[in-house]
């Protein structure tokens, strides 16, 4: 199993996965297509353009008033008996959770699937404190047992087949090698049920947080989030500061649109709306609830005139599902928590532009992602924006910059451009491309492009001479 440790390995990791793990491409494409088909069907039942406009406008409203909503949410959470923490960085967020765990002598944590906790590396941090962390989402549990990173933000184990799971469960739990999926599921249920009952602390993320009631909203299908946030005596929710919505009722639109976009369901099978710890008279529930507001690059992204719209993201995964680039390799090639189109535009903000390279370039700019984003993030435009920032920061190969400058010089001088273009026909197209590396990258697996015997403009000029130069007089000197 091959995966990148950081975005910088994308080119090599993607090549390796395609070469050495051909089943990954098939599995990822199959799962992504089926999710996209379901999204399409679910969208066709509703006035989707109106829903998307509303969701875009709601999130944009929140983001342009975010300080106000954060303060309101904090007030309400505290009134509800929730302990509120603030973490500027991934390290701080991990430290907050660890300190809650240490103070309460927590030995075992049950975790709901949370992209934010992957982003900050929470599991590894807790384990250094000797705390056992058990992922309870079935897909996350499977990859935890395998020691692999997630390959998709909604379906982390979609790269693993039934046979892979059979072999894993046989090794770990002694189930038969031909066990039916129901047997594997029952085994996981039994094993994790013990963890739920013994755990001292449940950790979750948050899909949304309604500021006016202080409600943490979580969406899932298995029930492990409901259980993780109900059984242990302490619940810690990590909430990215961009997750706010103004009012409880706003959750109706956001949750339904997110579910339809992620899996094609009208709603997630379980939605948790959490206000705080157990109240007097309630039979059960955690004694303590903590919310950790996490920044980790979000406020800086908010300050970016162009890229702030990225923060509308609801983590539905629709952009991954439709992305033809993502479908070739799955998430393992991207080298960090968020893959696909959203991963490429979040990385510069959360990891830094240099650390995120070359992800903003790992796209053909086909534009399919923008068509399926429920909150209308202009992903292709943002990819170009980050490419411009990368060029300005000298993060692209110097040869490319020089070649582009030379090309622009030529393009302003039609006679020279034409002459150079004529010469392309005589370039040595050598297999392996020692003459020009870029050609080698092409001819490795594709027939070389064949230039026409004579360029169209050259022929036109010869046929019609100077008769059609009216718009061009004086342009030969360059502008």
């Amino acid at each position: 199993m091959s995966f990148a440790d950081s975005p910088s390995e994308y080119a090599a990791a993607s090549a390796r996965i395609l070469r050495d793990e051909p089943t990954m491409r098939t599995a990822v494409t199959g799962a992504a297509r089926s999710k996209d088909d379901r999204r399409r069907a679910a969208w066709s039942q509703i006035d989707i353009e109106a829903w998307r406009d509303w969701a875009r406008d709601l999130k944009s409203h929140v983001l342009t008033h975010l300080d106000r909503y954060l303060e309101e949410a904090e007030r309400r959470l505290i009134e509800n008996g929730v302990r509120v923490h603030w973490a500027e960085t991934a390290e701080q967020a991990c430290a907050v959770v660890a300190s809650v765990a240490v103070v309460h002598r927590v030995r075992r944590v049950v975790k709901a699937k949370s992209m934010l906790t992957e982003e900050i590396g929470l599991n590894a941090h807790l384990e250094t404190h000797g705390i056992e962390v058990r992922e309870t989402d079935l897909g996350e549990y499977i990859i935890q047992l395998l020691g692999e990173p997630p390959s998709h933000i909604v379906g982390p184990s979609l790269h693993r087949s039934l046979d892979d799971c059979r072999r894993l469960f046989h090794e770990r739990f002694g189930t038969p090698l031909d066990a039916a999926p129901e047997i594997l599921a029952a085994t996981a249920r039994r094993v994790l049920r013990d963890d739920f009952l013994q755990a001292d602390l449940g950790v979750s993320g948050a899909n949304f947080l309604a500021a006016d009631t202080g409600t943490v909203a979580l969406i899932e299908n298995e029930g492990n989030i409901r259980i993780s946030t109900s059984l242990p005596r302490i619940h810690v929710a990590l909430v990215g500061i961009e997750k706010l919505v103004p009012e409880l009722e706003d959750l109706a639109g956001m949750i339904q649109l997110t579910a339809r976009s992620a899996t094609g369901q009208p709603i997630g099978n379980y939605v948790s709306l959490i206000q705080g710890p157990r109240r007097p008279g309630e039979p059960d529930g955690p004694d303590e609830v903590h919310v950790v507001f996490v920044d980790n690059g979000r406020s800086a992204l908010l300050a970016d005139e162009h890229a702030w719209e990225t923060l509308r993201c609801v983590r539905c995964g629709a952009c991954l599902n439709i992305c033809p680039v993502y479908r070739q390799t799955g998430g393992h090639a991207y080298g960090w928590a968020y893959s696909g189109p959203i991963g490429a535009i979040l990385a510069p903000a959360i990891l830094g532009l240099e650390e995120s390279m070359p992800l903003p370039f790992a796209s053909s700019l086909c534009g399919a992602c923008a068509e399926v984003c429920p909150v209308r993030i202009p992903i292709p435009e943002l990819l170009v924006y980050w490419r411009e920032r990368a060029v300005a920061a000298d993060l692209t190969p110097p040869m490319e910059r020089l070649a582009m400058k030379a090309y622009a010089n030529l393009a302003e001088r039609p006679a020279a451009f034409g002459a150079a273009s004529d010469l392309v026909r005589f370039l040595p197209i050598v297999k392996g491309g020692r003459a020009l590396p870029v050609l080698g990258s092409w001819t490795g697996a594709r027939g070389a492009p064949e230039p026409s015997t004579e360029r169209f403009l050259r022929k036109w000029e010869q046929t019609y001479g100077a008769a059609h130069e009216s718009s061009v007089r004086g342009k030969e000197e360059g502008q």
């Binding site: 509703i46 509303w54 039934l162 298995e222 706003d250 309630e282 059960d284 529930g285 920044d295 406020s299």
Partner: protein, 194 residues
Amino acid sequence: MNSRNRILGYVRGATGSRRRLAHPGRFDGRYLLDDDRAPWERFAEMFSAAGGEVERFGTEDEAARWLVRFAEGFESATVGATVPSRLRPRVPLACPDLAALGVSVATGAIAETGSLVLDARDGRRSQLLAPTHVVFVREKDIHPTMVYALGRLRRDLPSAVGLHSGPSKSADIGQILVRGVHGPGRIIAAVVAS
């Protein structure tokens, strides 16, 4: 200056010079096809489509009789704190994590999403841990839309509300659908008309 104030400071600085965008108003999610059916019918269709089962009873007595018969096959049950005594099964009670059957009362339901609204005051464990779950809900408490249901919920919010819209399901094992990991694999919505 602590983290809180620094973060809020960054956020204020970030939004300060940007044009503030207005709230678009209450979500009124329209569908392409109008649905004129009674809320309980819409609820029943959505809930069943997601793999849930629906029973409908004219009176609480009918519902109680059905429950006694239904529960006969189960060796033990856990019952929510707000379940009225006449809606209790006659099998031995067990701890929620050991019981075969869970019985709850929903404070409402949502027709457009096919969801039962479950309240922490009824007891979360009995709503989540038994493999089979029966939930009673009054027909008059089935609201047409989620927006409407949340609007009613806000008047009296407990520590946690769960919207349950079908049996627990996962496709994480080789993309094949399995049920009952980790919530109930079987859920019956028992709708009582009056």
